[in-house]
C-alpha cells in the first residue's frame, strides 16, 4: 500500500530562508534516493537538495521564487509502504512520530504554527521588532513581534502558550496576513486545542508538518497573478489622465496598484510625493534593483561601517626582493602573485598579534581569539563581492596557496561556492592591486576586527642613503577595530608586516 511521506528541507546551515531557484521534479515523477529535487540559492552559493528516499512525487509545496527554511516542506513522496517505513524509521522527524502517539503520551510535545492574523487592509507590513527568541517560553497574549504599517505600529500577541521552537521572521522582513510568524511547541493538550481551533484542511494527514506547507506561499501566488495579468499599458480612467496632465506626470512611469494594474488617484499622488521628497531632475533615470549579493552584503557593510570605530593605518612596502623572487619563479613557470606572499606574511604577523585574528562577541565585552589561521580573500564577481576563506594558510606552501586561490576565485565568479567555503575567517585581505589606486580604506568584515587593503605596486624613487633608487613599492592599508586594537598595536602590526614582506626570508622564521 503506498503511503505519502513529507520531504522537508534538511539543515542547510546558518540561513534563515533561502530562495528556490529551480524545481527539478514535477508531480508524478519517480525519483530515486539522492536524486536532486530542487536547487536553492543562498547569499553566495547554490545547492541542490537530494531526495532522502525513493518514491513518486505526490505534491509539490514549493515553486521557483519561494523562500524555504530548514524543516519546511519541499514535497510529498508516495512510496511503497516498506520504503516509507524504512524512511520514517531512518529519518523520522521528531514531530511525525510524536503525532501518532500524542493521544497516549502526555509528556509529548507538539509544534503549532503561529500565523499573522488579519491585520486589516495591508498587503504586507514590516517586522520592526522580534520580541522572542527560540527557546523562550511565552504565555498566551504575550507579544511576539512588532509590525509597522504606514501609520501605526502594532504588537502581535501569542494566540496560545508554548515554547518558541523556530522563528520564521526576522527584523526587516515583510509579512502578510496568514504568513508564518513562528512555531510554538506546546503540551499536547494545548496543541490539540490549538489545532482544533485553527485546523487547516491538510491537518488530518500529518498535523505539524502539513501546517507548514501552504500558508506562506499562498499570498505570493495571488500577487503574482496580479502582476501577470497587468497589461503593458496600465489603464487609467479619463479623470486620472486629466489629473496626470495637470500634475505633468507621464502615466507610463507609474505602476498601477488597482485591479489589473489600473492606475489609481493614489498611485499618481504617491508618485508625485516621491518626486517631491526625492527630487526629480527631469533627466531620464532607470530603477535597477541591486543584485541579491549586493543587497545582503550592503546591509552587512553598513552595519560594520556604522558600528565599528575604524582606524586605517597606511604603509608602503619595498618589495624589490619579493619581486625578484617572483620573477625568478616565473621563469621556472611557477606563477605566484604578490597576494600569496602577503597572505603568508599576514599569518606570520598574526601569530605574534593574536588580537588581530579574533572577533568581538555579541556583548562587546569579550574577545574571541582564534587559534587557527584562516584568511578571507575578497573576490569580485559579476554579482558582487564575496569573501571565500582560505583555511590554515600557515600550513600551506606558496604554490598550494596559489592553486587554492585560483580555484576558489574562479568558482566564486561562477557562483559555485559552497556556504561552508565562506565561513570561518579570522582576518580578511582585500586586494585591488590588479586594478589600480594608491590607497583605499577597507571596511572590516565584522565580526572580524581587522582587514588589510592592498593597492597597486608602483616603482617609486627611494633614497638609499646616497641616491634615489627606482624601487617597487606596494601600498597597504590596515583597518582595525579601535575598540579592540589601539593605535600603537596597529602601527606595530603594520611595521612588522612591512618587515616580513620586504625581507621575504623572514617568512621562514
Amino acid at each position: 500500500m503506498p503511503t505519502k511521506k513529507n520531504v522537508e528541507l534538511p539543515d542547510i546551515g546558518d540561513f534563515d530562508s533561502v530562495d528556490v531557484i529551480e524545481v527539478l521534479v514535477k508531480v508524478g515523477d519517480v525519483v530515486n534516493e539522492n536524486d536532486s529535487l530542487i536547487t536553492l540559492e543562498t547569499d553566495k552559493a547554490t545547492m541542490e537538495i537530494p531526495a532522502p528516499f525513493s518514491g513518486k512525487v505526490a505534491s509539490l509545496a514549493v515553486k521557483i521564487g519561494d523562500k524555504i527554511a530548514t524543516g519546511e516542506l519541499i514535497l510529498t513522496l508516495e512510496s511503497d509502504s516498506d520504503q516509507a517505513e524504512d524512511a520514517s524509521n531512518e529519518a523520522a522527524s521528531p514531530s511525525n512520530s510524536e503525532t501518532i502517539e500524542s493521544s497516549n503520551n502526555k509528556s509529548s510535545t507538539a509544534q503549532k504554527n503561529v500565523e499573522l492574523p488579519d491585520i486589516g487592509d495591508f498587503d504586507s507590513v514590516d517586522v520592526i521588532e522580534v520580541l522572542v527568541k527560540v527557546g523562550d517560553v511565552v504565555n498566551e497574549n504575550d507579544s511576539l513581534i512588532t509590525l509597522e504599517t504606514d501609520k501605526a505600529t502594532m504588537e502581535i500577541p501569542a494566540p496560545f502558550s508554548g515554547k518558541v521552537a523556530s522563528l520564521a521572521v526576522k527584523i526587516g522582513d515583510k509579512i502578510a496576513t496568514g504568513e508564518l510568524i513562528l512555531t510554538l511547541e506546546s503540551d499536547s493538550d494545548q496543541a490539540e486545542d490549538a489545532s482544533n481551533e485553527a485546523a487547516s484542511p491538510s491537518n488530518s494527514e500529518t498535523i505539524e508538518s502539513s501546517n507548514i506547507e501552504i500558508e506562506a506561499p499562498k499570498i505570493e501566488t495571488t500577487k503574482e497573478e496580479i502582476t501577470l495579468t497587468t497589461d503593458s499599458t496600465s489603464h487609467a480612467s479619463p479623470s486620472i489622465r486629466k489629473l496626470a496632465r495637470e500634475l505633468g506626470v507621464s502615466l507610463s512611469k507609474i505602476k498601477g496598484t488597482g485591479k489589473k494594474g489600473r492606475i489609481l488617484e493614489d498611485d499618481l499622488k504617491s508618485f508625485v510625493k516621491q518626486i517631491v521628497i526625492h527630487g526629480d531632475t527631469g533627466n531620464e533615470v532607470e530603477v535597477v534593483p541591486l543584485s541579491r549579493i549586493k543587497k545582503i552584503s550592503g546591509k552587512h557593510l553598513s552595519n560594520s561601517w556604522s558600528s565599528i570605530p575604524h582606524v586605517t593605518q597606511f604603509d608602503e612596502v619595498n618589495i624589490e626582493q619579493l619581486e625578484k623572487f617572483r620573477k625568478h619563479q616565473k621563469e621556472r613557470n611557477i606563477k605566484l602573485s604578490p597576494l600569496i606572499f602577503i597572505m603568508k606574511a599576514v599569518v606570520q604577523v598574526l601569530k605574534r598579534h593574536p588580537n588581530f585574528n579574533a572577533s568581538l562577541d555579541e556583548t562587546g565585552e569579550n574577545l574571541i581569539v582564534k587559534k587557527y589561521f584562516n584568511l578571507g580573500i575578497a573576490v569580485d564577481t559579476p554579482n558582487g563581492l564575496v569573501v571565500p576563506v582560505v583555511k590554515d594558510v600557515g600550513q600551506k606552501s606558496l604554490v598550494e596557496l596559489a592553486e587554492e586561490l585560483a580555484d576558489i576565485s574562479s568558482r566564486a565568479r561562477a557562483g559555485q561556492l559552497q556556504a561552508s567555503e565562506m565561513k570561518g575567517a579570522g582576518f580578511t585581505i582585500s586586494s585591488l592591486g590588479g586594478i589600480g589606486g594608491t590607497q583605499f580604506t577597507p571596511i572590516i568584515n565584522a565580526p572580524e576586527v581587522a582587514i588589510l587593503g592592498v593597492s597597486r605596486t608602483q616603482i617609486k624613487p627611494v633614497w638609499n642613503g646616497s641616491s634615489f633608487e627606482p624601487t617597487a613599492m606596494i601600498p597597504l592599508a590596515l583597518s582595525y577595530d579601535h575598540r579592540v586594537i589601539d593605535g600603537v598595536e596597529g602601527a606595530k602590526f603594520m611595521a612588522e608586516l612591512n618587515q616580513v614582506l620586504s625581507n621575504i626570508m623572514e617568512m621562514l622564521l
Binding site: T229, D231, H235, A236, S237, P238, R241, K242, R245, E246, G248, K260, R262
Partner: protein
C-alpha cells in the same frame, strides 16, 4: 482695428464651444462667423436638420408598418412646406440659443469671412476691417467635396446641403456615395416617396465599419431601394432635359441610367486652404488639413486649430472636445486631447454605431481578441417594437477581457453606443459589462448580452461552444 485676446474663427460646434469655454475661463473672446446664424454646418446644414428630417421619415415608416400592429393609417399626405418649417424651427431654436449663450458670456460675434494677414491679424474679406488677436483658434471646418466632373451648376445635381433644402421629392433619385451622409439622405428621400439608387465605389456600404455591423441595413435597403450598386464607379454625369444621365462602370450596374435628381455625397474637404493661414505661418497640407499637437496647437505658438480642419473623423463631438482642450490650454490649463475613442454613428434605419476599434482594425494590427455577437432577433424589446433586425458586437482583449471596441446595428444604436464608449474610457472588462444589471426589457440589454456571448455566460441564447 479691433483688438481681442482670443479670436475664434468659425462658430460650428467646435468654434462656439471653444469661444464659450475660453470666455468662461476669463478671456475676452471674439467669434467670427461667415453666415448670419451661428452653429456652422452641424446646426444649419448638417446634423440637426438631417436628424429632424430623419425623424419625419421615421414617423412615416412607422405609420406605414403600423398595420402589422393591428392599426392602419391612411397613406400619408406630405406637406413639404410643413416638413421644411419643422426643420427650420428646430434649427433656429438651436442657433438662437447659441446666439443667446454668446451674448450671456459677452462673446463678441462678428459676421464675416476671416483671412489671415499675419500671426496676429486677420482681415474680414471684402472689407478694410482688421482684427488683431493674441491667441487664435481656427475652427473653420470642412465643406462638401465637389468633383468638377459632376455638373453641380445644374440644380438637379445636389450636395447634402442642397438635399436638406428639400426643394421637391424627385421620383427617381441617385445617391453617389454609400457613406453615412448618403445613406442618411437616402433614408429621408425614401420615406418621402423617392425611388432610390445608391452607387458606392467600395465593396460595402460605410466601408470603414465592420461588414457584419452594416449587413442588417444593407439587407433592408437592398430590398427596399431600387438598386444598391457596390464596387461601382460613376464615370460620367450629364444634364439632359429628361434628367441627369449617369454612366456607370461596375459589374451589376447598367451602362447608364437617367435620374430626376442626383445627390453627390462623396466626402468632405477641410477648409484649411481657404483662409490664408499660410500668411500666419501655419502649416497646411495639400488636402487642407492643419496638423496640431495633442494640445491642439499648430506649429505657430499662439494659433490653435480644432475640428474637421485638423483631421478625421470629421465629427461634431470630436470638435467640441478638442475645442475645450484648446480653450483651456490658451487659459494656461494643462489640458490635452487623449480620448481613447470617438464613436461614429449613421442615423439610418436601422442605425449603425461603433466605438473603439473595429474588427478590421484589430485583425490588421494582429491583436488577439474575443468577439461576442448578440443578434437582436433574440431581443424581446426589439421584437416588441416591431423589429427583428439588428446586432450588438463586443470586441474584447483575448487575454485580459478588456473591451476594445463595440459595434451596434439597430434601432437607437447611436444612443446605445455611449455605454461602450464609457466602458472603453474606464477600461472595463467583458465581465464588468455582463455583470452590470441592465434593465429589462431594453435595447441596451443587447450590450450586456454581447459581453455575455463573449464570456459564454449567456442564457437568452445558446452560448458559443468554445468557452466554458
Amino acid at each position: 482695428m479691433i483688438k481681442t485676446k482670443v479670436l475664434v474663427i468659425g462658430s460650428g460646434p467646435g468654434g462656439y464651444t471653444a469661444a464659450f469655454r475660453a470666455a468662461d475661463l476669463g478671456n475676452e473672446v471674439t467669434l467670427i462667423e461667415t453666415y448670419k446664424t451661428l452653429g456652422g454646418v452641424c446646426l444649419n446644414v448638417g446634423c440637426i436638420p438631417s436628424k429632424s428630417l430623419l425623424h419625419t421619415a421615421e414617423v412615416i415608416n412607422e405609420a406605414k408598418h403600423a398595420s402589422q400592429l393591428g392599426v392602419t393609417f391612411a397613406s400619408p399626405k406630405i406637406d413639404l412646406d410643413g416638413v421644411r418649417k419643422n426643420k427650420e424651427d428646430i434649427v433656429s431654436k438651436l442657433t438662437g440659443g447659441i446666439q443667446a449663450l454668446a451674448k450671456a458670456r459677452k462673446v463678441k460675434v462678428i459676421t464675416g469671412y476671416a483671412k489671415f494677414l499675419s500671426k496676429n491679424q486677420v482681415s474680414l474679406d471684402g472689407t478694410d476691417e482688421v482684427i488683431e488677436f493674441e491667441q487664435c483658434i481656427i475652427a473653420t471646418g470642412s465643406r462638401v467635396t465637389k468633383f468638377p466632373m459632376f455638373p453641380f451648376e445644374d440644380k438637379r445635381v445636389m450636395d447634402s446641403t442642397d438635399a436638406l433644402m428639400l426643394d421637391d421629392i424627385p421620383k427617381r433619385m441617385l445617391v453617389v456615395g454609400g457613406g453615412i451622409i448618403g445613406l442618411e439622405m437616402a433614408t429621408i428621400y425614401d420615406a418621402l416617396g423617392s425611388e432610390i439608387t445608391i452607387v458606392e465605389l467600395g465593396g460595402q456600404i460605410i466601408p470603414v465599419a465592420d461588414k457584419d455591423i452594416v449587413t442588417p441595413l444593407f439587407k433592408k435597403i437592398k430590398k427596399n431601394y431600387a438598386n444598391v450598386f457596390l464596387n461601382t464607379k460613376v464615370t460620367k454625369m450629364t444634364a439632359a432635359k429628361k434628367g441627369i444621365k449617369v454612366e456607370f462602370e461596375g459589374k451589376d450596374a447598367p451602362e447608364s441610367d437617367t435620374f430626376d435628381k442626383v445627390l453627390v455625397a462623396v466626402g468632405r474637404t477641410p477648409n484649411g486652404l481657404l483662409i490664408d493661414a499660410e500668411k500666419a505661418g501655419v502649416k497646411i497640407d495639400k488636402s487642407g488639413f492643419i496638423s496640431t499637437n495633442n494640445q491642439m496647437k499648430t506649429n505657430i505658438d499662439n494659433i490653435f486649430a480644432i475640428g474637421d480642419i485638423v483631421g478625421q473623423p470629421m465629427l461634431a463631438h470630436k470638435a467640441t472636445h478638442e475645442a475645450k482642450v484648446a480653450a483651456e490650454v490658451i487659459s494656461g490649463g494643462k489640458s490635452g486631447f487623449d480620448a481613447l475613442t470617438i464613436p461614429s454613428v449613421a442615423y439610418t434605419d436601422p442605425e449603425i454605431a461603433w466605438t473603439g476599434k473595429t474588427e478590421k482594425e484589430l485583425t490588421e494590427a494582429g491583436v488577439k481578441f474575443t468577439k461576442g455577437v448578440f443578434p437582436w432577433a433574440a431581443s424581446g424589446k426589439n421584437l416588441s417594437i416591431g423589429r427583428s433586425e439588428g446586432i450588438s458586437k463586443g470586441l474584447f482583449d483575448a487575454e485580459s477581457g478588456k473591451i476594445l471596441g463595440m459595434g451596434i446595428c439597430g434601432n437607437n444604436a447611436g444612443d446605445l453606443i455611449s455605454e461602450a464608449s464609457l466602458a472603453i474610457e474606464m477600461g472595463c472588462d467583458m465581465s464588468d459589462i455582463a455583470l452590470t444589471i441592465h434593465a429589462h426589457p431594453t435595447l441596451s440589454e443587447t450590450t450586456a448580452f454581447a459581453a455575455e456571448m463573449a464570456e459564454g455566460t449567456i442564457t437568452d441564447l445558446m452560448p458559443p461552444r468554445k468557452k466554458k
